[in-house]
């Protein structure tokens, strides 16, 4: 469990980038954090494993305070983080060695490291690439490698900080499939994103605007308010946009309809009366 208690943060002496953020992320949750560029969502993400420490307020990870130097390694082992640029998070020159980087830092004994490496590569489907040089991989493969590197530390919470932003559709799909698998396997997932379609994967959404939490709810609740989202520089998935247009003329499609398939079902029902 991660608890943020009225967290504020600003770089140097400048004004707050995020202010007075209070948020509890429960175990097993799939939380999406959305917001336009500069809304402070990545700043929040970097507080979750103590990469940034609050200017005021506290962050607790499983009861440990991130500003406590003694606990920082335990916190970071527990909260894995996958970043946006796949290139800039791969440290070594062979795929399997990179997966082992985290466990090495944790001081895991050698045979156990290999077990973890094998397991993590298998989980992200990168076993066949284990001897490759990372720079020869595609963007999507690099990102899967980065995820494997995080998984090898056996975290209970994984934060994806715009991890799909730089990928092509195929790479994005692969990463999303892994997120789903991990969530199904009981990991807590925190996903920072600008892609509103991805939000549909989550069971809870936080919308950030101007450094504060503007909305907090299930995807259904969030997308009921398309105009508010648009006013904050965000968008709604196409099925939601069409749904709202149809509803404006009295078609009465329920708010829980968020995907193309369920929208098509509802339209079918209404047209074939």
């Amino acid at each position: 469990m991660i608890e943020l208690i009225s967290v504020s943060y600003g770089y140097n002496d400048s004004e707050d980038v995020i202010s007075d953020i209070s948020l509890t992320i429960n175990d097993g949750e799939f939380l999406a954090i959305v917001g336009h560029n500069g809304s402070g969502k990545s700043t929040v993400a970097k507080h979750l494993n103590g990469l940034l420490l609050p200017r005021s307020g506290q962050v607790y990870v499983n009861g440990l305070l991130t500003s406590d130097e003694e606990s920082i390694l335990t916190i970071r082992q527990n909260v894995g983080m996958v970043f946006q640029n796949p290139d800039n998070q791969i440290v070594t020159t062979v795929v399997e060695e990179d997966v082992g980087f985290g466990p090495e830092n944790l001081g895991i004994e050698t045979p156990k490291i290999w077990e973890r490496v094998d397991e993590a590569l298998e989980l992200v489907g990168m076993t066949e690439f284990r001897k490759r040089a990372p720079h020869m991989l595609s963007g999507g493969q690099k990102q899967r490698l980065a995820i494997a590197g995080v998984l090898a530390m056996h975290p209970s919470i994984i934060v994806f900080d715009e991890a799909t932003a730089m990928l092509d559709p195929k790479g994005r799909e692969d990463v999303i499939a892994i997120m789903k698998d991990l969530h199904a396997a009981g990991k807590t997932i925190v996903m920072i994103t600008q892609h509103m379609e991805e939000v549909l994967l989550s069971d809870r959404v936080i919308v950030m605007n101007a450094g504060r939490i503007a909305m907090d709810g299930t995807p259904t609740q969030i997308f009921e308010n398309a105009d508010k989202l648009r006013s904050m520089g965000l968008d709604v998935p196409l099925p939601v946009a069409i749904r709202d247009k149809l509803n404006a003329s009295g078609m009465n499609i329920p708010a829980s309809v968020l995907t193309l398939d369920s929208l098509a079902d509802e339209i079918e029902k209404r047209l074939s009366r």
């Binding site: 092509d168 196409l238 398939d261």
Partner: protein
């Protein structure tokens, strides 16, 4: 007009690692078009577009820009002046100490100075929506991601290219940033008559702007035509690509027996059509 005549490009020619990035590609882009190129990573898109301003030369075949053969050194110089090239993450090419000077770089390289240069720089800034008095003297490195990208775009626009080639110009931007770049490009096409050639992954954006699209798969053109034509017939899933969501919706409605014209791309048009049927039912 841009003409590709049987263009093949082979990387690592004469070695055991030789492979064709694109093979035997022929197509034209006419003036005033908004031409989009779609393809998976590794389909040869980047190789293809770099031929347009002679950064890569064809191994076989010819690329002509307004008749200039881009593999002839003298013609290349004339051809290159017609083509503006915007790479992925163009903000990574910014270098000067002020926004103004960075935009000036390309203009000065064309040999343009004085009043005309100033006019070009300021009008390019206005075109991309950067306030001249506010941004001119700022360092490009102090700007936000979206602003940096617009500075980079202005640097190319100020060179007044006839053809603007862009590789994933919206990558990594938030929904609003994407929308503003897209409408900027549309404006350049409709108001200034610049021909746009854009590589993009985001089908949903493309359907709204493209006059024609080409689907590239394994170095070959798998389909070419208007978005309506291409999405109606082409099996994109087999090429690792996704259909635009509007088309996906139409297809799944048709599967359910709701026969909607399957070349409708605009979500408003789809909604209107559905409402019309709903009110008639």
């Amino acid at each position: 007009m841009i003409e590709f005549l049987n263009v093949t490009h082979t990387y690592m020619n004469n070695s055991e690692l030789a492979h064709n990035a694109i093979s035997d590609i022929s197509f034209n882009v006419s003036e005033g078009e908004f031409f989009c190129i779609i393809g998976q990573t590794g389909s040869g898109k980047s190789t293809l577009i770099q031929h347009i301003n002679g950064l890569i030369m064809p191994t076989c075949g010819k690329v002509l820009v307004d008749g200039f053969d881009m593999s002839q050194k003298k013609q290349l110089i004339s051809g290159r002046r017609l083509v503006g090239m915007v790479f992925q993450y163009p903000e990574h090419q910014l270098f000067a100490e002020t926004v103004y000077k960075d935009i000036e770089f390309g203009v000065a390289n064309l040999g343009i100075t004085g009043d005309e240069a100033h006019e070009r720089i300021t009008s390019a800034m206005e075109a991309v929506g950067l306030c001249v008095s506010e941004f001119s003297e700022k360092s490009p490195f102090d700007l936000s991601g979206g602003e940096k990208r617009r500075v980079a775009l202005a640097g190319i626009i100020a060179m007044r290219p006839k053809y603007l080639v862009l590789d994933e110009p919206m990558a990594g931007l938030d929904p609003m940033g994407r929308q503003s770049i897209l409408s900027l490009l549309q404006q350049l096409q409709s108001e200034l008559g610049i021909t746009i050639i854009m590589v993009s992954h985001s089908m949903d954006d493309i359907v709204h702007v493209a006059t024609r699209i080409a689907i590239l798969s394994r170095g070959k053109i798998a389909a070419i035509g208007t978005p309506g034509e291409v999405f109606k017939n082409c099996e994109l899933n087999a090429m690792g690509l996704k259909l635009p969501q509007s088309i996906q919706l139409i297809r799944s409605l048709r599967e359910r027996g709701i026969e909607i014209e399957n070349d409708m791309l605009d979500e408003d048009a789809i909604a209107d059509e559905l409402l019309r049927r709903y009110l008639h039912a």
